[in-house]
Amino acid sequence: MKLDIKTMFGRHSELAGYAVLALLIVVVLPLTLDIFRLNLIGKYLTYAFAAIGLVMCWGYGGILSLGQGVFFGLGGYCMAMFLKLEASDPISTKIQSTPGIPDFMDWNQITALPLFWEPFRSLPLTLIAMLLVPGVLAFLLGGALFKRRVGGVYFAIITQAVALILTILIIGQQGMTGGVNGMTDLKTLLGWDLRTDSAKYILYFVNAALLIGAMLLCRWILKTKFGLLLLAMRDKEDRVRFSGYDVANLKVFVFVLAAMLSAVGGAMFTLQVGFMSPSFVGIVPSIEMVIFAAVGGRLSLIGAVYGSLIVNYGKTVFSETFPELWLFLIAALFLSVVMFFPNGLAGIWKDHGARIVAWASRMWARPLAAVPASKRKAA
């Protein structure tokens, strides 16, 4: 029996991939893992948002952004500011010299809440800010750079510089942002305690639902004419320009999309993990997000999710048992992906997946074939 993805699902082989992934993260993992490990998987899935954004802007749009950590962090910090204000109500903070403001402001002898913190008292404004602040930043940065046809390497270096700027700013302004420790001690969301197991389960499923929704949204975008234009722009930008399209607008759109996706991931990270710090904003985490997308396959949305899961899982496992080996491993993995497997795991699956499945099915069917036909009939 020839077992082949294409013959099994035909035109729907891609949707089958989504179904398998959805089954994995919504059914299989919650049933097989305890809540602690499930929370870890939830954390990895928040990185997947940034990886999906990178698939859109880097894989399909050709824009390498080494600063996705900036947008991840901005979304995360917006949510953290809301949660921190809620945890700093005057009753819980009555031992501070100025009750009603977050503890790190108190340590830095700040006596009144800075003005830019005020909007984060309300959840709707926080949710709007969480999408708007990274989106506007991406719009301004992308707009200014893409209109001047700055692309490729120069753009990547400038995004790195932006990541560095934001990190230094957050760490330097300890009174306003919590500094290098970040915002910790986040307890409740509108009264709902985030630290209980039931809250973690609910947040995991919300995260999974948002992730699948984001993937379907991106897939829909890619299937429209816009998706075709993106691919064309990545490969032959000048031709697209000569055909009359405004390449800069296309690039800005996809960059803003990637930024907003990362911001959602950052907010979900804050909710699930319970803190946010500048160590998720800088150059190193931004490049790690690129690694997730590269390993999974920069042209595959499903691959980005698997890439995030696999690399993060490897990081957790290896940095506990072989801490010295881990950096070598990830460096080797990244190097081999860049040099030999540019389309990552998804590329390997696409090229050789049918053969692997056929081989596996032959292995499984082998015991039956070993018995000669005559004996089979007699038995």
């Binding site: 700055v150 120069y154 510089a161 700027i165 330097g172 490049i287 860049v338």
Partner: protein
């Protein structure tokens, strides 16, 4: 009078930072202009140079105390050789597959940089180490009563000036420099004229890394060395190259000077971190207005 002397000393601090940025930027500009390769591991070559100097210092003080004063000059040469060698090996193994692919080389060399950082961590430990400076580098020069200029800063400046002069001399007056410039301008024609472009690329990459190694030796006089010291300078060095105009050496000098002096002048008026943030922001804003950098190539490639 006090103000002038503080300004002079602050200006001099800026010059020390300018020297490290210039040496790093020179290496990067040569590599990028020559081969279209972005070397994100360049900071790690600086660290190689710094650790080599530390090793020389350690050996000199433990085993050969007579050299305690003079080891530094040997260390500089040693730093160049080690960084040159490492760059040569790297080029042979990895970089030569990535010519004209700047994005891929950026990611691949970042991975190599990670591996190098871990090697440093495993070999020298995660804590920072310092080379013991020889006596003739300690102390300071006092041109007036109130101005205090550290001698190691002057030494670094002299070294940088010497090295920059040497690089410019070699590029514009030597046979090798002629070959390099020919390969940069028109690779096909240079190859047709009998220049071994592959060998030139290899030597140029290694030379760029060697210069970073010397920057690392200079760096030991102004700070301590840890496995991640290189990553402190890498973003700044890239901005120096991009801001100066990627293929122009004069641009690299000008932009390194501007960036270093802006940051150190701003440090005078506000905290160190805000000064850095403002400097980086200003550079990015200027790049938004003029993406090709200060001294752009007149020929569009």
């Amino acid at each position: 009078m006090e103000f002038i002397s503080i300004l002079a000393m602050q200006g001099f601090n800026g010059l020390s930072y300018f020297c490290v940025l210039l040496l790093m930027g020179l290496g990067l500009a040569i590599i990028f202009g020559q081969m279209g390769v972005i070397n994100m591991a360049h900071g790690e070559f600086l660290t190689i140079g710094a650790y080599t100097t530390y090793a020389f210092s350690h050996i000199a003080h433990e085993y050969a105390p007579t050299f305690a004063g003079s080891y530094f000059l040997f260390a500089i040469i040693g730093a160049f050789i080690c960084a040159f060698g490492a760059g040569y090996v790297l080029e042979r193994l990895i970089i030569r597959h990535l010519y004209r692919r700047p994005l891929d080389s950026l990611l691949a060399t970042w991975a190599v940089g990670l591996a190098m950082q871990q090697t440093f961590r495993s070999t020298f430990g995660a804590r920072e180490v310092s080379a013991t400076l020889p006596d003739w580098l300690l102390g300071s020069w006092k041109p007036t009563e109130t101005i205090d200029i550290p001698l190691n800063g002057l030494f670094v400046m002299a070294l940088t000036a010497l090295l920059t002069g040497a690089v410019l001399l070699m590029l514009f007056r030597s046979r090798w420099g002629l070959h390099v410039r020919a390969t940069v301008q028109n690779r096909g024609m240079a190859g047709a004229a009998g220049i071994n472009t592959r060998r030139i690329d290899r030597l140029t990459f290694a030379a760029g890394c060697g210069i970073a190694g010397i920057a690392g030796a200079a760096f030991t006089t102004i700070g301590s060395t840890g496995p991640t010291s290189g990553s402190l300078y890498i973003v700044d060095s890239f901005l120096v190259v991009v801001f100066g105009g990627a293929a122009s050496l004069l641009g690299t000098v000008a932009s390194a000077f501007t960036i270093a002096q802006t940051q150190s002048t701003l440090e005078f008026f506000m905290t160190g971190s805000m000064a850095k943030v403002l400097t980086l922001l200003t550079i990015i804003l200027i790049l938004l207005a003029r993406p090709q950098g200060l001294f752009a190539a007149r020929i569009r490639k």
